[in-house]
């Protein structure tokens, strides 16, 4: 099994979610994140003090998938998240050793 992690622009989440559903994936876990990269941040001003904020809001998605689906899924996520502008984010996959559904104790593909 693989864990696919995607760091994307927040307003692409809905598209990604829909694309995943269409693909047949029915679960994911989301966290709020901030990213630092090529995309420039912004300047804020508070009573004459100017602050450079270089972290921009991102959404981080984790998806457990079966090995066979992993590659295709990567493409699905990348396509759905893309806007073509700097800051679109990264997607990566990690090898998973075990995965368990808490409710039933099922392991492996059955856990999804």
């Amino acid at each position: 099994m693989k864990l696919i992690v995607a760091v994307i622009k927040p307003h692409r989440l809905d598209e990604v979610k829909e694309a995943l559903q269409a693909f047949g994936v029915h679960g994911l876990t989301v966290t709020e994140a901030s990213g630092y990269g090529r995309q420039r941040g912004h300047t804020e001003v508070y009573r004459g003090a100017e602050y450079t904020v270089d972290l921009v809001p991102k959404i981080r998605i984790e998806i457990l998938v079966e090995d066979d689906d992993a590659d295709q899924l990567l493409d699905v996520v990348v396509k759905a998240a893309r806007t073509g502008k700097i800051g679109d984010g990264k997607v990566w996959s990690l090898p998973v050793e075990t995965a368990i559904r808490v409710r039933t104790g099922e392991r492996g593909p059955d856990a999804l």
Partner: protein, 434 residues
């Protein structure tokens, strides 16, 4: 009524109006985030319900006899059902009645709202609405009559030439609401996780905002109760301020000694405790007396809020600890500390006894009637939320809303919401189970 007095009382009425939202924030900030909106709504709904009932029959039950003198010891007459005749401004004195009616309405809104803090976080919203509609009807309106009505039996009590002192509502408002809170929580039982799970305030600045609005409005509540602007008014305003000041200090010092910290929640709670205690007493003590009443109230209430853990009743936001105990402190202490118009000491045993009788009578009546009322509601429509609703949060369960959404996410909402459906479907599609 003089223009100055109408001006004063109408503005005081607006200030007292602001106390109910103030209370909502004071309470709402203390609640866990998942039920904070429900807490606000418990207070706001009181406004709607009491306003309607006030016009329909509340005013006439409480004060019908203040207009024309007829009525009895226990309730006013029914001459003003539906406020009939009260919009006739050509009648001499109608300005005074209308001014009084709007001022007193704010008390009838606030008092039931006070109770909500005790029941917070575990009751059905619809049951709460029914509860306060009945409660103001059979508890608040009559008790207001007893204490402030032309013929009210408590107002009429005398002993050695003294009468009961309850200037702005120590018995009718605070003791009444506090003891009702106790009766109600004994019926509905504890929150899931009481004494086990942490139940940390979700927004302490909101608690302080509530306390600030309450404090501000309380000047209207206390000074406005003179129904005129004169020396007594000014004395009451001054005493209201200084008693609150010592109550804050009293609570903080108690906490520092007992628990090792000066807490923000303690400061806010101390302020309310002081305001409660000076409510019945502030027009009848001098400023040193007010300092003392505030100090005692601050310390006693700081201690009293721990009682629920010891005795095992779950008064979520300490309505008993603050309003019942604070109300008793003020009502009884003025028995000893009272001064007359000339500033001479006028307290003593008979005054104290009168105070105790008034407090005791309201406590007994309010406790028993509220207990029965709560029992009836509990055994008919049910008073408690289901376990799932309580654990999941009452905001979603009854109001289909989430209090905050600070997500910086693109669309500004918790990711994952889908598009608004514009309600083109069958009506009555039940979102929640209130």
């Amino acid at each position: 009524m003089e223009a100055a007095d109408i001006a004063f009382v109408v503005i005081c009425a607006a200030m007292v109006m602001l106390m109910t939202p103030g209370l909502a924030f004071f309470y709402g900030g203390m609640i866990r985030v998942k039920s904070a909106l429900n807490m606000l709504m418990m207070c706001f709904i009181a406004t709607g319900i009491s306003s309607v009932l006030w016009v329909l029959y509340g005013f006439t039950i409480a004060f019908g006899d203040s207009v024309n003198g007829e009525g009895n010891d226990f309730i006013g007459n029914f001459d003003y059902l539906g406020f009939s005749g009260l919009a006739d401004l050509t009648v001499e004195g109608s300005d005074a009645i209308l001014t009084f009616a709007v001022f007193q309405l704010m008390f009838a809104v606030l008092t039931p709202a006070l109770i909500s803090g005790a029941l917070a976080d575990r009751v059905k919203f619809s049951a709460w609405a029914v509860f306060i509609a009945l409660w103001v009807t059979i508890v608040y309106f009559p008790v207001a009559h007893w204490v402030w009505g032309e013929n009210g039996w408590i107002a009429g009590l005398e002993m050695d030439g003294n009468s009961v002192i309850d200037f702005a509502g120590g018995t009718a408002v605070h003791i009444n609401a506090g003891v009702a809170a106790l009766a109600a929580v004994l019926v509905i039982g504890k929150r899931i996780g009481f004494k086990k799970d942490p139940m940390r305030p979700h927004n302490l600045p909101m608690v302080l905002l509530g306390a600030a609005l309450l404090w501000f409005g309380w000047f209207g509540f206390n000074a406005g109760s003179e129904l005129a602007a004169n020396g007594t008014t000014a004395l009451m305003a001054l005493n209201t301020m200084v008693a609150t000041g010592t109550a804050v200090l009293g609570w903080l010092v108690y906490e520092r000694i007992r628990h090792g910290a000066y807490t923000t929640l303690g400061a806010a709670s101390g302020a309310i405790a002081g305001l409660v205690a000076i409510t019945p007493s502030g027009a009848n003590v001098n400023p040193l007396g007010a300092l003392l009443i505030g100090l005692v109230a601050g310390v006693v209430c700081a201690w009293a809020v721990s009682l629920k853990y010891k005795l095992g009743y779950d008064d979520s936001l300490d309505v008993v600890g603050v309003h019942l105990f604070g109300g008793i402190v003020g009502t009884l202490l003025v028995g000893f500390l009272a001064v007359d118009e000339a500033g001479e000491w006028a307290g003593g045993f008979s005054q104290f006894a009168l105070q105790a009788i008034a407090a005791g009578a309201v406590m007994a009546y309010s406790f028993v009637v509220t207990w029965i009322l709560a029992k009836i509601i509990a055994s008919t429509m049910g008073f408690r939320a289901t376990e799932e609703e309580e654990t999941g949060g009452l905001d979603l369960a009854y109001h289909a809303e989430t209090g905050y959404d600070f997500s910086q996410a693109g669309s500004g909402t918790t990711p994952g919401s889908t598009v608004p459906s514009t309600a083109d479907k069958a009506a009555g599609d039940k979102k929640v189970d209130a």
